[in-house]
């Protein structure tokens, strides 16, 4: 329900009466004023001193409704590389989009022209960047224009919404987003508002758009006048909030400024909604200019409401927020947001916890559900990464699949909140799958991060497929974004909670135990929780539905008094289950799995360490007599005759006493005039015919007579003497190409063949060139081109002569 409608202000703008989504001007007609814009205006917030820019096809800066608030410093023409963002005019008025979006935000009020913008006193600019080839450079430039001056960037564009595209920002645009949120607004962070997508009719899903799906953008969807899903609306789990927009033909559209100094009442699509939210955020920034980019997202989560928006999937998440895949946290409320903004205290710093990467391939069988679970302690062991309260959750995954559009992916949080990360897309026939694609959900906002997370993948073939080709989940991992403290209270939630998971008194310091006891006594006066407990909770009940709200556990408790505890069915990697205490205890440093705390109780090791099965330890390098087996990261024993080996048991590099190295094997050492027979392997006396002559010193083995070997006092020209592993004597090897006499290979040439000259021990072509300037030679030298056969023609001699 809308709060009491404030009296509409007597604006003289002719289309003002038609702005049904802002006020009930005519009491006899329908209106939808739940966004409470008038109430925010009546508190005095109209966007003063806030700067917004529209990233689009330009802005008609001399439009009578935009002229007053137009800000040249918030404008640029990236397509034309100048400072004038005026759109290119053509017969079809193709480039009207930016001008229409700009009017919604900051059309001047009471100027007897068109409409009233939501932030009608804000400064408005435009960045012309869609009227030409869009590249990563164009996007990065546009997202990074005057980040200390521009507060809000509103974008209503993206990759094709054709239901088959998976695309997002390139390397430079990603860096521009990151730079904006870190450095923009003098460190408070740029605010990027994004239209969630227009591909509803094509069955598109906005998680396939890397811009709306980014944690740095505020993704905005739309609802119709009567709270229905517009035909063009894309659903996904990264949508944060919603505004009214257009809908079916019998429902009203949005009025705004149009190209050639006109007004329009025909603006449609999700691009209606993003600028509206940009305007509402401008009101919030006027109320509190110190809001950070994350504060703004928290404010939207906290103040947006489902009101009468119709969706079958409204649910309450583990933190009590109502959320849907169509509308995020609901319709924005300008009055609520400015009231909250005014008294807002900056949320604690953002922590990022990168979960472990599961690289065990899993096949996705058609018409079956693949479930993959991971138990996370949300980086509780790292103070600067620990995420106790969630903001965004990202699932990064790689999937190979014969038809990407048949896939549906969901994520279930420890509190049981299910986010659909991907729905079926009938037009997506691609066999490219997903390669490290990041799906983002805001549906777990405010929940605890620690516990068991489950990824579910459904493959429902829409057409006949080759049954021999199955999809495969190649790898996946979770990224948690959030805070280590409760975002809205000075006291951390664990301290303010009613009761806490049982902790043996013997494990606490006396003063701490007394403090916690006092907390328990105070808190017990609070209202009792009577709802269902988490399945892992024991017989003593719980304070809430989560695994960290149990009073005792069925299996094990994980965590500490300091970081908070939770009940788990089994202990995660790095911990072992102490049956007696029913606790997960930490393994020795470096152990991934163990049976006790000691350094010799490891059964599996952390990445980069090798498990020594005989010692049950984790080591960086395998000791002598063992080799590193890479597949399972184990130290395995070398062959009994080897002292050292590499890669395999019988690939010896050193031998035990009484054996000598022959190739990669250790063979028994034989006395002079004896040889090693193959079967049985033992030393036999050489045949009497062998003697001390030059021809006679071939290896004394019947099976390798090696007639081509000769013993020579020195190598002939064109060869050099080199050590040869496994042979007692040196071997003559051929000099490098173009070298006729040498002391060794690469750079040790003494004399070159005809047509080549000796330079620095190498032979280079006698070719010279005339255009080898300093820059060119620096490039030749720094890339060592003269050492590469293919590049000898690159003036090497000239450059080397020049020093």
């Amino acid at each position: 329900q809308a709060r009491g409608e404030p009296h509409a202000q007597p604006f003289n703008d002719p289309v003002w009466p038609n702005m049904w989504y802002l006020h009930c001007g005519d009491k006899s007609s329908r209106c939808r004023s739940e966004m409470n814009i008038l109430a925010a205006w009546q508190r005095g917030y109209t966007g003063k001193n806030v700067v917004i820019t529209i990233l689009d096809d330009g802005i008609e800066r001399n439009h009578p409704d935009l002229l007053q608030n137009y800000d040249p410093l918030a404008s640029y023409d990236v397509n034309g590389n100048d400072h004038d963002p005026t759109p290119r005019y053509d017969a079809s008025n193709e480039n009207k989009h930016g001008t229409r979006c700009a009017g919604e935000v900051a059309a001047a009020a009471n100027n007897s022209y068109c409409i009233v913008g939501i932030a009608y006193n804000a400064r408005i600019g435009g960045i012309r960047m869609l009227d030409g080839d869009v590249t990563d450079v164009v996007e990065a430039k546009s997202l990074g224009i005057r980040p200390d001056y521009i507060d809000i960037y509103s974008a209503s564009w993206g990759p094709d919404d054709d239901g088959k595209t998976v695309d997002g920002p390139g390397l430079l645009a990603k860096q521009a987003f990151e730079h904006g949120i870190k450095k923009g607004r003098r460190g408070l962070g740029s605010i990027f508002v994004w239209a969630s997508g227009n591909g509803g009719r094509e069955g598109d899903y906005c998680s396939c758009d890397g811009y709306t799906n980014s944690i740095y953008t505020i993704s905005i969807s739309s609802t119709t006048e009567n709270g229905y899903k517009p035909w063009y609306l894309e659903e996904c789990a990264s949508t944060l909030a919603t505004t009214y927009s257009s809908g079916a033909f019998y429902e009203r559209k949005i009025v705004t400024t149009d190209l050639r100094h006109r007004c329009t009442d025909g603006h449609t699509g999700t691009s209606v909604s993003a600028p509206m939210v940009a305007g509402i955020i401008a009101l919030a920034l006027e109320a509190n200019p110190l809001l950070t980019w994350r504060d703004v997202q928290h404010l939207l989560v906290k103040t947006s409401r489902p009101v009468h928006l119709r969706a079958a999937d409204w649910k309450t998440n583990g933190a009590g927020h109502k959320v849907s895949h169509l509308y995020g946290f609901g319709l924005v409320d300008a009055d609520a947001i400015v009231v909250e903004a005014k008294k807002w205290k900056t949320v604690p710093p953002q922590h990022v916890c990168v979960g472990s990467l599961d690289r065990v391939p899993k096949y996705i069988r058609p018409d079956h559900v693949l479930r993959a679970s991971t138990l996370s302690n949300a980086c509780a062991e790292h103070r600067d990464q620990h995420v106790l309260y969630l903001e965004h959750v990202v699932v990064r995954l790689s999937i190979s699949h014969p038809r990407r559009g048949d896939l549906q992916i969901s994520l279930v949080s420890p509190a049981g909140t299910r986010s659909q990360l991907l729905a079926r897309r009938v037009f997506d026939h691609s066999s490219e799958g997903f390669k490290g694609w990041e799906f983002m959900t805001v549906h777990c906002w405010g929940e605890r991060a620690a516990g068991e997370w489950t990824l579910e993948i459904h493959d429902t073939p829409t057409q006949v497929r080759n049954p021999a080709v199955q999809g495969k989940l190649k790898e996946w991992s979770l990224l948690f974004y959030g805070t280590a403290e409760h975002p809205y209270t000075a006291l951390g939630a664990p301290q303010s909670r009613g009761r806490m998971l049982e902790v043996p008194a013997s494990e606490m310091e006396p003063s701490r135990a007394a403090f916690l006891q006092s907390q328990v006594e105070v808190a017990e006066e609070e209202e009792e929780y009577t709802g269902p407990c988490h399945p892992e909770c024991g017989d003593q009940g719980c304070d809430g539905p989560n695994a960290d709200q149990c009073l005792n556990c069925i299996h094990y408790s994980l965590g500490s008094v300091k970081t908070g505890r939770m009940c788990v069915s089994s202990c995660p990697a790095g911990f072992f289950g102490d049956e007696g205490a029913r606790r997960c205890r930490r393994c020795y440093k470096g152990c991934e799995r163990c049976v006790g705390r000691g350094p010799t109780q490891c059964t599996a090791c952390k990445r980069s360490l090798y498990h020594h099965p005989e010692m049950s330890t984790c080591v960086v390098l395998c000791p002598a007599g063992f080799y590193a087996e890479e597949r399972h990261k184990r130290c395995l024993k070398c062959h009994q005759s080897c002292k050292k080996c590499v890669g395999e048991a019988d690939k010896c590099t050193a031998c035990k006493d009484g054996f000598s190295l022959a190739g990669e094997s250790c063979v028994p050492e034989c006395q002079p005039a004896m040889y090693l027979s193959r079967e049985p392997r033992r030393c036999e006396t050489c045949p009497a015919s062998t003697g001390p002559g030059e021809e006679d010193c071939a290896p004394c083995t019947p099976e390798t007579p090696a007639p081509h070997w000769r013993c020579v006092p020195a190598c002939r020209e064109g060869f050099y003497p080199a050590e040869s592993p496994g042979l007692p004597n040196k071997v003559c090897k051929r000099c490098d190409d173009h070298c006729s006499a040498c002391e060794g290979s690469s750079g040790n040439c003494l004399k070159c063949k005809e047509g080549f000259s000796l330079l620095g021990g190498s032979c280079v072509t006698n070719e010279t060139c005339t255009n080898a300037d300093k820059t060119f030679c620096e490039m030749v030298k720094s890339n060592k081109l003269c050492e590469k056969k293919l590049f000898v023609q690159f003036c090497c001699q000239t450059c080397l002569m020049a020093g």
């Binding site: 869009v134 990563d136 990065a140 390139g170 430079l172 730079h179 490039m779």
Partner: protein, 86 residues
């Protein structure tokens, strides 16, 4: 059918030494420097007028020499991204 990549005659180049060095390099290898890319320090926008404006093949030739210049850390020929207004 996946759409083919279309390459432009614009480059993003990461150069050490500031805008003057970027301009010098651009001139030395036949490009025009269109300045820093937004707020990204050390990243510059180069344009090469003697390369095809759009091509399904990536360009080589002098661009390889620019890539090999000791002052250039990274270089990327720009590809056309299909973007739609919503």
């Amino acid at each position: 059918e996946p759409s083919r990549t279309v390459y432009t005659n614009h480059w993003a180049v990461r150069v050490r030494g500031g805008p003057a060095e970027a301009a010098r390099l651009a001139a030395a290898y036949g490009y025009i420097s269109l300045g820093q890319i937004g707020s990204l320090e050390n990243y510059y926008h180069f344009h090469h007028s003697r390369t095809f404006k759009r091509s399904t093949l990536s360009s080589r030739g002098p661009h390889n020499f620019l890539r090999m210049d000791p002052k250039v850390d990274w270089l990327q020929q720009q590809e056309v991204k299909r973007r739609v207004k919503r």
